[in-house]
Amino acid sequence: MITIDKMCYHSKLRYENAGEKFAFAVITLLICVMSRSAAVAGIVLAVTGVLTVWKGGIPVARYVRFLTVPLAFLILSTAAIMFNIRRTPLDLFALPIGGWYLTASSHSFFYAVSLVLTALAAVSCLYFLSFTTPMPDILQVLRRLHCPKLMIEMMLLIYRFIFILLDTASAISTSQDCRMGNRDYKTSLKSFGMLGSVLMIRAVSRSGKLYDSMEARCYDGTIRVLSENHPPKKKVIAGIVCFELLLFSFAL
């Protein structure tokens, strides 16, 4: 997750208008999920892959590795759809186990394949967005879409403080390592517990201090910030509209 965050700030597509990227990712995702067809999923996978890797400048190996993260999970869950255990064999193949068969039908096989592809394509849409668009830009789009203010403010603060929490946690754990806090299973369990409790205390005191510092800057309950705008390009919008229309008609 932290890698994705680091990479998106270096993406070549970072300074494109966030609304464009957001619209592209979300609409493609919707079409892809609604159509449930392997062909559409294949096209989406290819297009988002090319855009993220080639246009965005994310290393191929990195991208593929990230795509395989949900793969294991997907294969496990689709296995249940694909294979059956029953007394009569199905058309694709059948392994006899005692008086029963471990068997699959070609229909359920293709269904499982299209399911895996659709899920991967959906993930690739979200990867496209998160590999090219920093969180503050996404929040700005959500703000434009009139998402509840409270939610956006929470997301803004959480995003910032994930990193502070991680920094603090890693500093504490390093200091525990230095004093042999993780020497064996027992000490590491104890150290981990202490890490948790200290983090909790630190988080509470930090949030108090943050509130003070925001109040000192005339904070009145709503977080108002300006965003830098990268104006949308007509060519890009036209491209996105064309692609989505084509994809949509293909899905039908």
Binding site: D5, Y9, Y159, E215, A216, R217, C218, V225, L226
Partner: protein, 281 residues
């Protein structure tokens, strides 16, 4: 006098309402346009006093005056005070709450109700002025300590306060960023902003400040010009401070009879060097 900007009268503050007071009858006056160094041991009440100055903490007793008017702690009054008194906190991570530098700096002026177009210009100006441009596109969590400090100062400066409080701005900074911060502080003074700075660096305080305030156990031990405060051995000993090198060296040269004791006490190393050059010629 008319040019007193902040006046504290017998402030008492305790974080947990028992007998230990962080501020224990603190009284002082701060004049407009001055450079003031606030010194004292850790836990002597400097940060607590600063938080009182912006109305974040409300003292249990005592009065705080801003421009001669007693602070009422009503919401309108507080906002008015906070728009005039800016505070740069010691740890930038407690201050920066946005992941984007630009958004972070725009927070303050938008709270003041300034229209967006002007805020945009102000933010751009301050980014230029404080040399933030090279890293303005980076997320705040990827900035170095010094860069975070620059942004946290920009946060406050962009609101154009009358008085800026800096809580140990040079803490944990490398020499290059320390120089940079000191330079920014000089710019503030030139613009007529009153600067109140907590620091442990006696040499810097001696050279820079118009006035030094020594804190001890939540009270003002001594307030006066740096020459007077730092010549007082007794007071320095009580606050565990070393005398500034320039002053010590000057006194030692006087004792040896190399320099004339009637010379005015040198304000910085340069003046002392001039004195020494003049005897050899």
């Amino acid at each position: 006098m008319n040019d007193t900007i902040i006046k504290a009268e017998n402030l008492k503050f305790s974080y947990d309402d028992d007998n230990t007071h962080s501020l224990n009858g603190l009284s002082l006056e701060i004049k407009k346009g001055q450079k003031i160094a606030v010194m004292g041991a850790n836990g002597s009440g400097k940060s607590t006093f600063f938080l009182c100055c912006t109305g974040i903490l409300k003292p249990q007793s005592g009065k705080l005056y801003f421009h001669g008017r007693e602070l009422s702690y009503k919401k309108k009054d507080l906002l008015e005070l906070r728009s005039k008194v800016g505070i740069v906190f010691q740890d930038p991570d407690n201050q920066l709450f946005c992941a984007s530098v630009y958004q972070e700096i725009s927070f303050g002026p938008l709270n003041l109700g300034i229209e967006e177009e002007r805020v945009k210009k102000e933010v751009e100006d301050i980014i230029q002025q404080l040399e933030i441009t090279p890293f303005r596109q980076k997320p705040t969590h990827a900035l170095s300590g010094g860069q975070k400090k620059q942004v946290s100062i920009a946060d406050i400066l962009v609101m154009h306060p009358e008085i800026i409080i800096l809580d140990e701005p040079a803490a944990a900074l490398d020499p290059r960023h320390t120089v940079m911060v000191n330079h920014i502080v000089d710019q503030m003074t030139e613009e007529g902003i009153t600067v109140l700075m907590a620091t442990h660096d006696v040499n810097y305080a001696y050279e820079w400040a118009d006035e030094v305030i020594l804190f001890e156990n939540g009270r003002v031990l001594m307030q006066g010009n740096p020459q007077r405060v730092f010549s007082d051995k007794e007071v320095l000993k009580r606050t565990n401070l070393e005398p500034p090198v320039v002053l010590e060296f000057f006194e030692s040269l006087c004792r040896k009879g190399i320099l004339d004791e009637s010379l005015p006490v040198p304000k910085n190393l340069k003046t002392l060097e001039n004195y020494i050059e003049n005897i050899s010629s």
